[in-house]
Amino acid sequence: MGFLWFWLVAVMIVGYVVLDGFDLGVGVLHLFLVRTEQERQTALRSIGPVWDGNEVWLLAGGGTLYFAFPLLYASAFSGFYLPLMIVLWLLVLRGISLELCNHIDVGVWRALLDGVFGLASALLAVFYGAALANVLRGVPLQDDGYFFLPLWTNFQPGPAPGILDWYTVIGGLVALVALTLHGALWLTIKVSGDLAQRAREIVNPLWVALTALTGVSLLATIHVRPESLNNYSAYPATFVVPSGVVASLLAVYLWNRNAQPVKAFIASSVYLFFMLAGACWGVYPTLLPATTGADHDITLTRAISGPHTLSVGLVWWSFGMLLAVGYTVFVYSRFKGKVDAAASGH
């Protein structure tokens, strides 16, 4: 049961990153990729009808984490209090600025909202990446399973780390570049003309940066937490995961170059999946490693809810997620194809 729920929560997190990831990427890109008002509208329209539904994966995932692993939810959210609050403020700013762009007709305020949207999107990507890196690096868990991290200490991932140290900053940068690339690929599917061409072209430098950062982050992870290789060594078949990272990266580059946008986007999604899966497998069955000694780790068995709770949950969760996937497919299919720049809003 615990194993199953671990993967169900992981699926929701991956789903969120793949879906809202391109919203964030488009948010970053629209600041410097668009040249005209028309293009700006088009870029925003490519995510307009779907961004809110994408964000719901975060909420559904968070709620699922809450009832399936309440200790992890409580410990991690209170321990990561400050960055989590900042993430919440960024989500507020991102949502408001994106949705309200279309309700303002004064140029100055539109520009302000645009800037807020772009900046919030970028910072969210950075914080998400840093958050994952924090989990991999571990936190100073006390006997009762709780901790608290300040925003920074000495920028070293040592025994008394902060949220930001050199390792987690690298994580943040990886996420920023990966999601920006992901967003660019989404644009190549959804828009046409010069904007699509520019999106296709920006993929290349982004790809180079991502490949370099991916390599650096993998090496850094091994350096900071050598135990992350244990599961891989024990089950060598799972080296398929890092291979998958490499293969999907390559696929992104090749398919984008050959003007196959949908395949390139799928490859990018697969890359994100393998990166997250690889991180999970690096710590499993620990959910939140402790820098205060492995006996303080929050493991799956320690955090999991009671069996009755989980069986009750499985029934409605399965039914609900089936519906959710159904709605998602329905909505995306209604809005498929290139964005119609002339279409009206409300």
């Binding site: 009808p49 809110d52 909420l59 809810s305 009671g306």
Partner: protein, 484 residues
């Protein structure tokens, strides 16, 4: 993990922001030099402030979703362009309101973990479920169909567009249900078991969802949302008529607003308020005694209409009391005894007792005014006199903020009434907050939210007012921008 262990666990932290405000104790004497802004108080304020601001939006979302279905149904039935435009106008306002509800709602789901971690850890197995269900069932539904409703007008048929509006309504009302189920379990825990480490487990999914408290509270709460929406719609109609513009829409909005207002303002008192109140009285005697200012146990207890509760002396100052009514309302007979606060141990009195009393009386007082106003307005509407009765239009116009206050006061009554319990009878509020998050950090983020929400509030007001000002006739801003 026993709750007592958690309560005594040592907080450690590094860095300036994480250093706890040590030595802050509750002040018992006037000589105390420090203001007791303890971590518990800060975390309570943090949740209370963010959820109060958040709920300003969903109440309109849920109520307006219903009214938009009404507009769209009438548009589909009559084929009238006017009803269609009315539906689309309110859809634009709905879209603005909805996104403010979404962004202010996200912090709520995470705040159980950030600020109330000990509570979350122990109760997650139970209430984590309805909260997750809200995300899985209603949020996906709402956002999928809202996207279609707002952006997909050209892509789908009229019937499909009506269906989108209907699904948004269903989604938002399901959302409300799961939140109520969560709160209802905290007020009246059912269908649970306590594991040896102190965690609570749910025993029956259906008993959790069909908690009688949840059913009464849901009926009452949703009616409150319809009250808010009907007042907003009616006020907009009144505004257009008073300003003598877009008067055809003014009339439509008045009609829908007043009829919905009449029904909802009556139903909120009877049967929903009455049934909910009776259930609270039977299950939370301390809450009902404090709400009603019933310091002393009394047979044939009267209802206090006005008066200030004096907690120090245990009396109501300058009271106006109607004899026997309280006994009758709760138990159906004037001979019944109502338990007073004198029979309840002091450490089980709701903390912030005067606030509870005032919240309840403000809610009930406003509720009385609402039904009187709507009865009068409906009568005038029936006689065809409403459009010319400017005094009534003015009353309808300026009354629109009041349901927001009443709904807020109602929630304050529910939450403060439950104190000192976080989970009634099981966990005290003082045992549930995040012990690793210092008062200083909590204060920092509370101030951050206050600032951010102040800006959001201003932005919301400006945007909605502009939409109302432009009215249903105007082209969308989108199209206006493109025309330049």
């Amino acid at each position: 993990m026993k709750s007592t262990d958690l309560a005594h666990s040592i907080y450690r932290g590094t860095g300036i922001l994480s250093r706890p405000l040590r030595n802050l104790r509750r002040c018992d004497r006037l000589k105390c030099r420090r203001l007791p802004l303890t971590a518990e108080v800060i975390h309570r304020l943090h949740f209370a402030f963010t959820v109060t601001f958040h709920y300003l939006f969903p109440q309109l979302t849920m109520g307006l979703a219903l009214l938009i279905v009404v507009f769209k149904t009438l548009a589909l039935r009559t084929g009238s362009e006017e009803w269609e435009r009315a539906g689309r106008f309110w859809g634009r306002i709905f879209g603005i309101n909805f996104v403010f509800g979404v962004v202010t709602g996200i912090p709520m789901e995470f705040q159980f973990g950030t600020n109330w971690s000990r509570f979350a850890q122990l109760s997650g197995g139970v209430i984590g479920q309805p909260l997750a269900m809200e995300g899985v069932f209603s949020f996906f539904l709402e956002s999928a169909f809202l996207g279609l409703f707002l952006y997909g007008q050209r892509l789908i048929s009229r019937r499909m567009h009506w269906f989108s509006a209907f699904m948004v309504f269903v989604g938002s009302w399901i959302s409300g249900f799961f939140i109520i189920v969560t709160d209802a379990w905290m007020q009246h825990p059912v269908a649970f078991d306590r594991l040896p480490d102190g965690r609570y487990e749910v025993l029956s999914f259906w008993q959790l969802l069909l908690n009688p408290w949840a059913l009464f509270q849901y009926a009452h709460n949703m009616t409150g949302a319809v009250v808010t929406a009907s007042f907003v719609v009616a006020a907009t109609g009144a505004f257009y008529l008073l300003d003598k513009r877009q008067e055809n829409f003014g009339r439509i909005f008045l009609k829908v607003g007043v009829i919905a207002g009449l029904i909802s303002t009556i139903v909120i008192i009877f049967p929903t308020g009455d049934l909910h109140g009776k259930y609270v009285a039977r299950n939370q005697p301390a809450a009902i005694a404090a709400m009603e200012g019933q310091f002393k146990t009394e047979t044939g207890a009267g209802i206090v209409l006005v008066g200030q509760p004096n907690e120090e002396t245990g009396q109501i100052d300058n009271p106006i009391v109607v004899n026997n009514v309280l006994s009758f309302l709760i138990y159906g007979t004037t001979k019944a005894e109502v338990k007073g606060l004198d029979q309840i141990p002091r450490d089980q009195w709701p903390t912030a007792l005067p606030l509870l009393y005032y919240a309840y009386h403000i809610m009930a007082g406003l509720g009385t005014y609402f039904v009187a106003l709507m009865l009068l307005a409906a009568f005038l509407l029936w006689r065809g006199l409403l459009h010319r009765a400017r005094w009534m239009l003015w009353l309808l116009l300026i009354s629109f903020p009041l349901p927001y206050i009443a709904n807020t006061a109602g929630w304050m009554t529910a939450e403060i009434g439950r104190q000192p319990w976080l989970i009634y009878g099981l966990m005290r509020t003082s045992e549930g907050f995040s012990h690793t998050v210092s008062a200083g950090n909590g204060l920092f983020t509370l101030i951050g939210f206050m600032g951010l929400y102040m800006l959001l509030g201003l932005l919301f007001t400006v945007l909605v007012y502009r939409e109302i000002d432009r009215g249903p006739e105007a082209k969308t801003i989108d199209a206006a921008v493109r025309a330049n």
